[in-house]
């Protein structure tokens, strides 16, 4: 058999303090970045929130000959749009993404009952027309033979109300998902296992968000989808190891939980590497070929997969062991505790035994 890891025997849990320090450092770093960005005047926001959450307009325009971003920015400034982000699309020479924040409604526009959704796109079209001498082409028509022209190939506009609602929903759903997982794992194993798994997953989500804040990667609806997928993936990883721990506990009643957990991690290490590697490869395919629309999504998964594997070993396992041992220390009577070999305590996850009995 071709095996990359044979008889791995690393004491993972010994390094748990280092692991926890690293995790805390990342999250503090994220928090620091978020606060610093939010509080410095004239600085960027804590998160680069996409229009899905902040409201605003993103217009995808295709030019026959794309002007320089500064020219576009000036043209839009002349129309009263000050905070605009121009993003030339790298793999398409004529295309550019124009992002506008929420715009104030002026009196005359409000008379006609228009809202943010309409203003953004109209203003951009007006501004771009000044660059092409008034030539705007329908999306499915070809460009004129002479002179420049532009088409608006895509628009996304979200009003402030919708944006805020989506933001609240996103947070609510993520928390609900975590609760759902806590309940399921608590039911299948013990609640300490469930709690440890949820803490690990929560850490993954926060760490990913921390990196998103530090590097100002855009957070939009697809990122939320990626985070929820990441929750599922990270829990998968944790379950595989907990399953093994449960099985080993039944087979080796004498060992203590600490050694058993290390052993379980080592036994499943080759599966972990291969699976994570394969998921990593499929996410890599997405990052490389998925296109700009999925960029934030792919990056979130990319970072998340790495954290997912890390957290299973570095966070979920140590927390579970520590918690179980504390619980047992509370329950065990003094005389029988240390008399067996190994000097550890006996663990019997009742629901775990029930579950694996059902599987046989």
């Amino acid at each position: 058999m071709f095996q990359i890891l044979q008889n791995v025997n690393v004491d993972w849990l010994r390094h748990r303090k280092v692991f926890i320090l690293v995790s805390v450092a990342i999250m503090l770093g994220g928090l620091a970045s978020a606060l610093a960005r939010q509080l410095t005047p004239g600085g960027t926001e804590a998160f680069n929130l996409g229009i899905d959450f902040k409201g605003g307009t993103v217009v995808t325009a295709e030019f026959k000959e794309r002007p320089a971003p500064e020219a576009i920015r000036d043209a839009l400034l002349a129309k009263g749009v000050s905070e605009v982000i121009i993003q030339p699309v790298t793999d398409k020479p004529g295309e550019v993404l124009i992002r506008l924040p929420q715009m104030e409604t002026t009196e005359t526009v409000a008379q006609q009952g228009e809202t943010q959704v309409d203003i953004g796109r109209k203003t951009v079209a007006e501004g771009l027309k000044t660059l092409t001498g008034g030539v705007q082409v329908e999306a499915n028509q070809p460009f004129p033979g002479e002179g420049n022209g532009f088409k608006i190939t895509g628009t996304e506009a979200v009003g402030a109300v919708a944006g805020a609602a989506l933001r609240n929903q996103a947070v609510a759903v993520t928390l609900l998902a975590l609760v759902g997982i806590l309940l399921y794992i608590g039911f299948r194993f013990e609640w300490t296992y469930g709690a440890a798994a949820v803490i690990a997953v929560f850490h993954d989500v926060l760490a990913t968000l921390a990196l998103f804040s530090i590097f100002q990667i855009e957070v939009n609806l697809t990122v939320v989808a990626a985070l929820l997928t990441l929750v599922g993936f990270s829990v998968n990883d944790t379950i595989v190891i907990f399953d093994r721990v449960r099985e080993n506990l039944r087979l080796h009643r004498r060992s203590n939980l600490y050694d058993l957990t290390n052993e379980s991690v080592n036994q499943t290490m080759s599966r972990t590497i291969i699976t994570s590697g394969l998921v990593f490869l499929s996410v890599l395919a997405l990052v490389l070929f998925g296109g700009p629309v999925l960029r934030s999504f792919s990056l979130a998964l990319f970072i998340g997969v790495i954290f997912g594997v890390y957290s299973t070993i570095a966070i979920a396992s140590p927390i579970m062991v520590w918690w179980q041992q504390r619980l047992e220390a509370g329950r065990a009577q003094a005389p029988t505790a240390g008399s067996r070999g190994g000097g550890g305590q006996r663990q019997r996850p009742a629901s775990g035994a029930k579950a694996s009995a059902a599987a046989r």
Partner: protein, 569 residues
């Protein structure tokens, strides 16, 4: 063992066949063309329900401004109560509507408390469309107050939203949009409507058309009745002054959009600014609900671009009313009022029964649009757009290309890795994976689920997670082989032990996908759906199909060598 294997192979074959049929069956008898690459492409495009972000189209979320509707209801009661007081001879000091925030009230202040209870009972009875269960009335001193109840507010709001939805439905269909989706969106209190229009990449015209209120009213112009011209006033104040300062309930002051005469001296007016004001009688003689048809026609055969006008006809009841009224008002002027603006004021020469005209500065497009909105009925309240996502066709095609490329790349990477690492068993896993992908696609088609760009990402991720199941099983088999078990029992042990873990991992991912489905709209939902379908298909392929292949391999080796010593894994 052999019989077991045969049953399994038959089941797998049937499932595969069903899956392939679901994907590739064109829905009619196949022709020669269907077997070319282009033909297959067409069939796939037809069978797979592509989302807007892949097909191109427009996604709009609009909100019905229910507070406008409630305000109109309140004002209607206010007008009615004021008129009723006059008719019944109640001497009141003041009547006014009180609308603020979420409260809608009509207040009547009498001079004394003598007939206050009478007023409270009798005044509302004479108001049109007054629903006593919707209002609570209270008396305090010499003031009677009617307030709209919360239940009524909710009921009216919901009714307004439903009516608006039907009208928008009519309008969108009249425009000839292919396969639009129109439905209520969000919670009932949000009064939001979702509209999805595939293939529309410039929704501006449609958006204004949908928003257009198109309230038509025909009213009598107050003033001199002579063929010389209607009585107009240069400003709103002048018009009001002619009524003695305040506008009584049976009169309205409206702006008049006179046609721009090219020879008129003076400034050209802004669109939206009236050139003059007129006073009309209220309520209207005829309103939009009595319209039978409305059509855009060229007014002047030799006319230019703005010579279009709308011809409309009335339903029988309305025609009768109109006929009686015009007969009684020959030599007067009739105001054709659209959305509270007088568009034209034709002279009533003789009795008109069932038809009329609206003329103004209409171009062909604006006339057609107006005719369409009149036919569909007036919107009960204003519509405001909350969200718009439009994807042009080229952007959609780009996304499809990106998605497919990423899928294939991911698949290739995974296949290579599995074969290199697990050798012949790797091929076993690859077969299961390909079957999984095919079944996921088939399930999508069968359930008519929408495939979006995140949905394609979901298929890729589903493949990644599906292969995890195979890895779990294979690693377990390797472990069992290392402890010295025979090949067949190692395989059995591997599948059995890994099954529990596979169920656990699948359930948790499905649980988080369910939350995604409930929360998400459009593209996100597409992602959750494809991921869940992929995982469910995986339970079949990674466990049942993989095991069948192993069983087949075992039986082949047994029949050839009489025993099974090794396993390529």
């Amino acid at each position: 063992m052999k019989k077991n294997l045969l049953t399994r192979v038959i089941i797998i074959a049937i499932v595969t066949l069903l899956g392939l049929t679901a994907i590739f069956w064109p829905g009619r008898m196949p022709t020669r063309n269907d077997f070319t690459a282009a033909g297959v492409n067409n069939i796939l495009r037809q069978n797979i329900n592509l989302g807007l972000d892949l097909r191109g189209g427009s996604h709009l979320v609009m909100q019905v401004q229910v507070q406008d509707y409630l305000r109109r209801v309140t004002e209607n009661v206010y007008n009615g109560v004021q008129q009723a007081a006059r008719d019944l001879g109640f001497d009141i000091k003041e009547a006014r509507p009180e609308i603020s925030g979420d409260t809608y009230r009509v207040v009547v202040v009498a001079n004394d408390t003598s007939r206050i209870q009478e007023m409270r009972e009798q005044l509302p009875r004479r108001v049109n469309d007054f629903d006593p269960s919707a209002w609570t009335s209270s008396v305090s001193g010499n003031t009677v107050t009617w307030e709209l109840t919360d239940a009524a507010k909710t009921a009216l709001g919901n009714r307004a939203t439903e009516d608006a939805l039907k009208i928008i439905d009519t309008r969108v269909n009249a425009l000839g949009v292919t396969e639009p989706t129109i439905q209520a969106h969000g919670s009932t209190n949000s009064h939001q409507i979702l509209l999805q229009m595939p293939g529309i990449d410039d929704p501006e015209r449609i958006k204004s058309l949908l928003k257009s209120e198109s309230r038509l009213e025909l009213m009598k112009v107050v003033g001199a009745s002579s063929p010389a011209g209607i009585t107009t006033y240069p400003t709103e104040e002048a018009a009001r002054a002619s009524l003695g300062g305040t506008v009584p309930p049976n009169r309205r002051v409206l702006p008049y959009d006179e046609r721009d005469e090219p020879t008129a001296a003076g400034t050209t007016r802004q669109p939206g600014q009236a050139s003059s004001w007129v006073v009309v009688e209220s309520p209207a003689v005829i309103d939009g609900s009595e319209l039978r048809t409305a059509e855009a026609v060229t007014g002047n055969p030799a006319g230019g671009d703005d010579a279009y006008q709308i011809n409309f006809t009335l339903k029988p009841a309305g025609a009768q009313k109109f006929g009686a009224w015009t007969a009684a008002n020959i030599n007067a002027y009739m105001a054709v009022v659209l959305n509270d603006r007088v568009k034209s004021a034709p002279y009533i020469r003789q009795q008109i029964t069932d038809s009329g005209q609206i003329s103004g500065n209409f171009t062909k497009d604006s006339a057609n649009d107006l005719a369409l909105t009149l036919r569909s009925g007036a919107l009960p309240a204003k519509i405001v757009y909350l969200e718009e996502r439009t994807v042009g066709p080229s952007l959609g095609a780009d996304s499809i290309r990106a998605g497919v490329t990423a899928s294939l790349a991911g698949l290739v990477l995974i296949v290579l890795t599995m074969i290199v690492y697990y050798r012949w068993s790797g091929i076993n896993a690859v077969v299961a994976l390909l079957l999984n992908t095919m079944l996921t696609l088939a399930a999508l088609i069968v359930f008519d689920a929408v495939l979006t760009l995140p949905g394609i990402a979901g298929i890729i991720l589903g493949i990644g997670m599906a292969v995890d199941s195979n890895v779990l099983i294979f690693e377990r088999i390797r472990e069992e082989l290392q402890t010295g078990k025979t090949v067949p029992s190692a395989i059995d042990a591997g599948f059995d032990r890994a099954f529990v873990t596979i169920i656990d991992t699948h359930v948790t991912t499905i649980v988080s996908s369910l939350f995604l489905f409930v929360f998400g709209t459009g593209p996100i939902r597409g992602f959750a759906v494809t991921l869940v379908l992929g995982l469910l298909a995986n339970l079949f392929t990674a466990v049942y199909v993989s095991r069948t292949i192993f069983i087949w391999e075992m039986s082949r080796k047994l029949s050839r060598h009489g025993r099974v010593e090794t396993l390529s894994i």
